[in-house]
């Protein structure tokens, strides 16, 4: 099947495909918006997402060199008291880890099977001896196990793309997987980030994995994007009513907060699209 013009493979659409091919088809091929709730307690869910987005912005501002005193004032005035705690945790535990050239909110991509794989990093550090360190800030409550993180699409894709495209940050032709480490830092569990070094074997495995996945998508006919057999996935899927897979949204407690994409809660304006308007 031909994917829409301008389509990029990202961690979230690959995860959607792996969860349910039909969800992928509705969302990215047909661009169907299905305005059901994702979780039952929508207000708390929204507040969690917005708080995460504000916290990410604070770190970004810190990394750009905005005076800490101003950021402290903003963190303390935040309506969500957790932000203050997360901010203190960050200041106590992270800055000393941030040695190196900083690439904040950097996007990198690499071609695969005539498609494009894209990753947007919270932070990439280029350190001495060409070590590249990815930082990903998480505000989710649980601190997962290392093995679980190693298996996530995000971990696999981010490290893979940095190996392929990180040369554009270092100015070198090639990056070896051994130069790369991915750090997840959890704001509510600030002690040390979970550090996941990369290696050639994992790189090869990831390459095969993503190639197979993309090839599978490209080979599918439209009518073969089937609904998942695992109906647990439908509890946290917007399309559940369209698929006759349930009535009520899943509960907030059971939602995998690791997958929360804070960007969805940022206010997105579209002034650029102003067309002629008859006043």
């Amino acid at each position: 099947m031909k994917l829409p013009e301008g389509f990029d493979f990202t961690q979230s659409n690959l995860k959607d495909y792996l969860d349910c091919p039909y969800r992928f088809y509705l969302k990215y091929v047909l661009h169907t918006k299905w305005p059901a709730l994702l979780v039952d307690d929508a207000l708390a869910f929204e507040e969690r997402g917005k708080a995460g987005a504000r916290f990410h912005r604070l770190i970004q501002q810190y990394l750009l060199g905005i005076p800490q005193s101003r950021l402290d004032a903003i963190a303390q005035s935040d309506p969500n008291p957790e932000i203050t705690r997360w901010w203190e945790n960050f200041l106590e535990n992270v800055p000393h880890l941030l040695e190196g050239q900083r690439y904040v909110e950097a996007s990198l991509s690499t071609p695969m099977l005539n498609q494009r794989l894209v990753a947007k990093y919270d932070l990439v550090l280029v350190q001495d001896e060409s070590q590249l360190v990815i930082f990903d800030w998480k505000t989710s409550g649980k601190r997962p196990r290392k093995e679980w993180l190693l298996d996530r699409v995000q971990t696999r894709l981010y490290r893979y793309i940095l190996t392929k495209a990180g040369g554009s940050l270092t100015g070198t032709d090639e990056i070896s997987p051994e130069q790369i480490t991915m750090n997840y830092w959890f704001a509510p569990h600030p002690e040390a980030p979970i550090s996941l070094p990369y290696n050639q074997k994992a790189f090869q495995a990831d390459q095969t994995y993503f190639e197979n996945c993309i090839q599978e998508i490209l080979d599918r006919k439209e009518e073969n994007f089937f609904r998942t057999d695992d109906e647990r996935k439908c509890r946290y899927c917007l399309y559940r009513s369209h698929c006759d897979r349930g009535v009520n949204a899943g509960d907030l407690q059971g939602f995998d907060a690791f997958e929360l994409d804070e960007e969805n809660f940022e206010f997105d304006l579209d002034f650029d699209e102003i067309q002629e308007i008859e006043f």
Binding site: W34, R54, I66, S77, P111, F271, D272
Partner: protein
């Protein structure tokens, strides 16, 4: 990923280059080039090759900035990165003035909140959409109209008053003059009745009130975003250093469609870039009503090392070029400044322009003629994607009539980014009507007939006759009780007619609406999310499997969500219900009056129906154009905007000069020339002229464009004979 579909000319970095394009590409990679030429001369294609050259030279894509007046114009550049041979390791950055200002204000807010005078600088900024800005403007101006008699001599819709005051603020920001001067500038150019001058004082007063309110409440409409960026961030070393380090190479396209403030910024910024390519489309400047300024765009030439000219239009065949020449000559004659250009050949013009043997009297006749001509063209082998139907504005009635006719003929067609009224969509009305039932304490219960319509949409298998019967017995508007009664409460003979299957579905919906707010009142957007997900999209209900309705409801919910995010805090402190306020604003036409579909799933090989200016900006040449309603003055006349003025508020206007009838006529000639020549530059073979004696509204059609076409033909015939 692009957020909207944009129909693109097939720009391709593998196409062979013209000599002009070769000349550009051979420039040193550290050059700063000003590239100018007419539309269709291959400038954007050359720009894409320039981008490819930068990437192949090893420049990281994130260091490249594509700057355009409208985001969609950067898509050809973005799409180039998908070509296999380009092998880019990341997306390039695309920005517009609005995008740059908003992004920088958001990022550097801790630095500007205090200096810019915001009331609570430690709290996050609240960015307003057009809708929410209009809401706040209405909130402030409505009492001034009702209680203080502002704008009392004007007889226009209030929403147009709000929109034009906002437009003035935006003009002040993008042209670069203090917003405090809006009223004075408008007054100084006014030549009409002196008693009308006070409306400009009213405009200024409202603009002042709005700005103070925004500052006090951390609200940033478009104009304030641009002003804060310009005054406080563009001058900040930290922000400038961030921008200079982040972006090292610049490509600007359609610079002539951008605003003076953009040109000022780019002029100051240029020395910081390692390379720059600035592309200027001659004979353009179509967005003057949005502040585009051709003259200030040209001033960027002086900041570049080299100016390259592309001379030749590569699109149009000779006949079309002859028509273009004829239009330039005819307008020069009408202006009293005839040129010494040769006259076009009569045969060539006649072959390039097609019009009906006899004009139909009414516009449906014109539509029928257009549809028949399109059918003939397709029968003769023209691809539908090579045909575009244009009018200065594409009113719904014209669009629907033409679409229906084309559908009847089996001709694939699509409408370019149709702006539609969200509140008029049946799915929207259904959701809001049911919302008014569930939130009955708001005392905004719907009319019985509207509820009947909503139930027809909501319940599968219910028709209007039975819905009216059902609501006649089950819907009671009086009292504070829940207004919908159970199915079993209506008389048995009515139940029989409605059917028990429908009754069961009705009961489930009724019970859901009655119980949803018993514990705590949900925000209206979440209420609608739940109503859609738990009831209306379930089997047995109207939106089950209706993907289009789902999309419409999603846009409505997004509009309410943005309203809640932008307005909610303010309303909660005033103890006003956000949902109730939203519905009232929808009823008044302040919000949800217009929306643009963000994604169209159209067939690209389809006849395109588009407003003329939208088509111009899309940079897409076609074989055949149909120009509709060519007798209409909309082809050249300004919109009637009594509270604003795009020329008087432009940078070129001398303060104190009067805007008189001569200026108006000169502006009309200029608009018509730019529009018609611009369209011809994007046409390869033929133009079909659609006209009727009376227009859509029944007015006689005798506009300037018809006279010009007649003038061209007369002169061409005389010259040829």
């Amino acid at each position: 990923m692009p957020s909207s579909k944009f129909i693109l000319f097939g720009y391709n970095s593998t196409m062979p280059l013209t000599a002009d394009q070769e000349k550009l590409i051979k420039q040193d990679i550290k050059s700063k080039v000003f590239l100018q030429g007419p539309a269709g001369s291959g400038k954007t294609t050359a720009g894409i090759h320039w981008l490819t050259k930068l990437i192949k030279a090893g420049i990281p894509p994130h260091q490249i900035l594509i700057f355009t007046p409208q985001r969609t114009l950067s898509l050809p550049y973005q799409n180039t990165l998908y070509q296999e041979e380009v092998q880019a390791h990341g997306p390039v950055n695309s920005l517009t003035l609005g995008g740059l200002a908003r992004r920088m204000v958001d990022l550097f807010w801790p630095l500007v909140g205090i200096d810019a005078g915001f009331g609570t600088p430690n709290k996050a900024p609240n960015f307003l959409t057009l809708e929410t800005a209009q809401y706040y403007m209405a909130h402030l101006v409505r009492p001034l109209i009702e209680e203080k008699g502002l704008f009392d001599s004007l007889t226009i819709n209030r929403n147009r008053i709000y929109a034009q005051i906002l437009d003035n603020l935006n003009k002040a920001a993008v042209v670069g003059f203090p917003y405090e001067e809006i009223g004075g500038r408008l007054k100084s150019a006014w030549v009409g009745d002196i008693e009308q001058l006070h409306i400009y004082d009213d405009v200024q007063f409202c603009a002042d009130q709005f700005r103070s309110f925004c500052l006090e409440n951390n609200l940033l409409d478009f104009s304030l975003q641009v002003e804060v960026f310009l005054k406080h961030l563009w001058t900040s070393p930290m922000c400038r250093s961030y921008l200079s380090q982040f972006y090292r190479h610049l490509i600007v396209d359609n610079i002539e469609e951008d605003t003076p403030v953009t040109h000022d910024i780019l002029k100051e910024w240029l020395p910081d870039f390692e390379s720059a390519l600035i592309i200027f489309d001659q004979e353009a400047g179509y967005r003057s009503f949005l502040g585009a300024d051709v003259e200030s765009a040209q001033s960027l030439k002086d900041s570049c090392d080299k100016i390259i000219n592309f001379e030749k239009n590569l699109v149009s065949e000779d006949g079309i070029r002859q028509v273009s020449l004829g239009i330039n000559n005819a307008i020069a004659r009408l202006k009293g400044t005839p040129q010494s250009n040769p006259e076009p050949s009569f045969e060539a013009v006649r072959a390039a322009i097609v019009s009906p043997a006899e004009n139909p009297k009414y516009f449906p006749g014109m539509v029928a003629w257009v549809a028949d001509q399109i059918a003939n063209l397709i029968n003769d082998g023209v691809s539908p994607g090579e045909i575009v139907v244009l009018a200065p504005f594409m009113p719904d009635v014209l669009r629907f009539t033409l679409t229906n006719r084309l559908d009847e003929l089996g001709i694939p067609n699509q409408s370019h980014r149709p702006s539609r009224s969200l509140r008029d969509e049946p799915a929207t009305q259904t959701m809001l009507t049911l919302g008014r039932i569930a939130f009955h304490s708001w005392e905004m219960l719907p009319e019985r007939i509207n509820l009947a319509y909503a139930l027809v949409q909501a319940i599968d298998g219910l028709d209007l006759v039975r819905a009216q019967l059902l609501t006649a017995y089950a819907y009671k508007k009086s009292g504070s009780d829940f207004p919908l009664h159970p199915f079993e409460a209506i008389p048995p003979h009515v139940r029989d007619r409605v059917t028990f299957r429908v009754g069961e579905r009705y009961d489930r919906l009724r019970n859901w609406l009655e119980n949803i707010n018993t514990q705590a009142e949900l925000p209206l957007d979440f209420f609608l999310n739940k109503l859609f997900g738990e009831v209306l999209s379930q089997p047995g209900y109207g939106f089950h499997d209706k993907l289009d309705s789902g999309n419409t409801v999603a846009i409505l919910i997004e509009s309410i969500q943005k309203f809640r995010w932008a307005i909610g805090e303010q309303l909660v402190s005033d103890e006003i219900s956000i949902g109730k306020e939203y519905i009232q604003m929808v009823n008044e036409g302040v919000i949800a009056a217009q929306y643009v579909q963000s994604w169209e799933t159209g067939d690209e090989d389809a006849v395109l129906l588009s407003p003329a200016y939208t088509f111009l900006i899309s940079n897409r040449p076609v074989d055949v154009q149909f120009w509709l309603d060519i007798g209409s003055p909309s082809w050249y006349q300004r919109l009637d905007q009594p509270l604003t003025h795009p020329y008087v508020l432009s940078r070129a206007w001398e303060h104190g000069e009067l805007w008189d009838a001569e200026d108006e006529l000169a502006a009309s000639y200029q608009s018509l020339q730019r529009l018609s020549v611009g369209l011809l530059n994007r046409c390869r073979k033929k133009v079909y002229l659609g006209m009727s004696d009376l227009d859509v509204r029944g007015y006689e059609n005798r506009g300037l464009l018809i006279r010009i076409i007649q003038n061209i033909l007369q002169h061409a015939r005389r010259e040829t004979s």
